[in-house]
C-alpha cells in the first residue's frame, strides 16, 4: 500500500539555524510529491509539487528536493514565522485521484 512517513515528528530550531525535514514514501509509480504548510486551526497551504527524482523547487527560505524514495524540505536561516506543521503527500500514477499524507513535522522556530 502507498505510504508516507515524515521525520522528525517535531523540530525546535533557533532563529537562523538551518535544518531539513524528511519525507519517506512508498508508492507504486509516483505521479507527484507535495509539500504543504499547516498553521494551527487552518487548512494546509500548498508549497511545492515535485514530479521526478533530482527535481528541486525553492520558495524564500524553503527548498524541496526529491529522490526515488524520499524528499527533503530544507529550511535555510528560519524565522519564527516559519513555525508551522509541514505535511508531505504523494499521488500515485495508478490511482491519481487519491493522495496519501504523512503525519507531519511540527516546526518551532525560537527567536
Amino acid at each position: 500500500e502507498d505510504q508516507v512517513t515524515q521525520s522528525p515528528e517535531a523540530l525546535r530550531l533557533q532563529e537562523g539555524e538551518s535544518s531539513s525535514l524528511n519525507c519517506s514514501y512508498t508508492v507504486s509509480g509516483l505521479r507527484g510529491l507535495f509539500w504543504y504548510r499547516q498553521d494551527p486551526g487552518k487548512g494546509p497551504e500548498f508549497l511545492f509539487t515535485l514530479y521526478s527524482a533530482g527535481e528541486e523547487k525553492e520558495k524564500e527560505r524553503l527548498k524541496a528536493t526529491l529522490t526515488k524514495k524520499e524528499s527533503f524540505l530544507h529550511i535555510t536561516a528560519p524565522k519564527p514565522e516559519d513555525s508551522a506543521t509541514y505535511l508531505c503527500a504523494v499521488q500515485g500514477v495508478y490511482n491519481f485521484n487519491k493522495f496519501y499524507f504523512g503525519s507531519g513535522t511540527k516546526l518551532n522556530v525560537k527567536p
Partner: protein, 114 residues
C-alpha cells in the same frame, strides 16, 4: 477571490446523532476532496468528486459516511449515528479541473462526538 469555505467551523454532537458538514469550493473548481485529520495524524482521504460524481469513494470509513455534491459546487458530508471515534477535523479541498491540479484547502470543521 474567496477561498474554500466550510461550515460549521465547530460541531459538538452526542453519540448516535447524525451530522452534516458543508463545503463551498472555490468558484469554478470542478474537483473536490474530503479528508479527515485526527489528532496527531496525517490527512486521511475520504472521497473525491469530479463535478457531481464521485469516481472514488474508497476512503469512506464505513457506510455511516456519505457525501454528495450538487450543481458542481457545494458538497455535504453526512455522518450517521456518530461514534466517538468520528471526532476529528474534517477538511475539504478543491482544485480547478482534476486531481492533477493544485488543491486548495478550507479551514476545516472540528467535530467532537461526546
Amino acid at each position: 477571490g474567496a477561498g474554500v469555505s466550510q461550515s460549521p467551523s465547530n460541531k459538538v454532537t452526542e453519540k448516535g446523532k447524525d451530522v452534516e458538514l458543508r463545503c463551498d469550493p472555490i468558484s469554478g473548481h470542478t474537483a473536490l476532496y474530503w479528508y479527515r485529520q485526527s489528532l496527531g495524524q496525517g490527512l486521511e482521504f475520504l472521497i473525491y468528486f469530479q463535478g457531481n460524481s464521485a469516481p472514488d469513494k474508497s476512503g469512506l470509513p464505513s457506510d455511516r459516511f456519505s457525501a454528495e455534491r450538487t450543481g458542481g459546487s457545494v458538497s455535504t458530508l453526512t455522518i450517521q449515528r456518530t461514534q466517538q471515534e468520528d471526532s476529528a477535523v474534517y477538511l475539504c479541498a478543491s482544485s480547478l479541473v482534476s486531481s492533477t491540479d493544485t488543491q486548495y484547502f478550507g479551514p476545516g470543521t472540528r467535530l467532537t462526538v461526546l
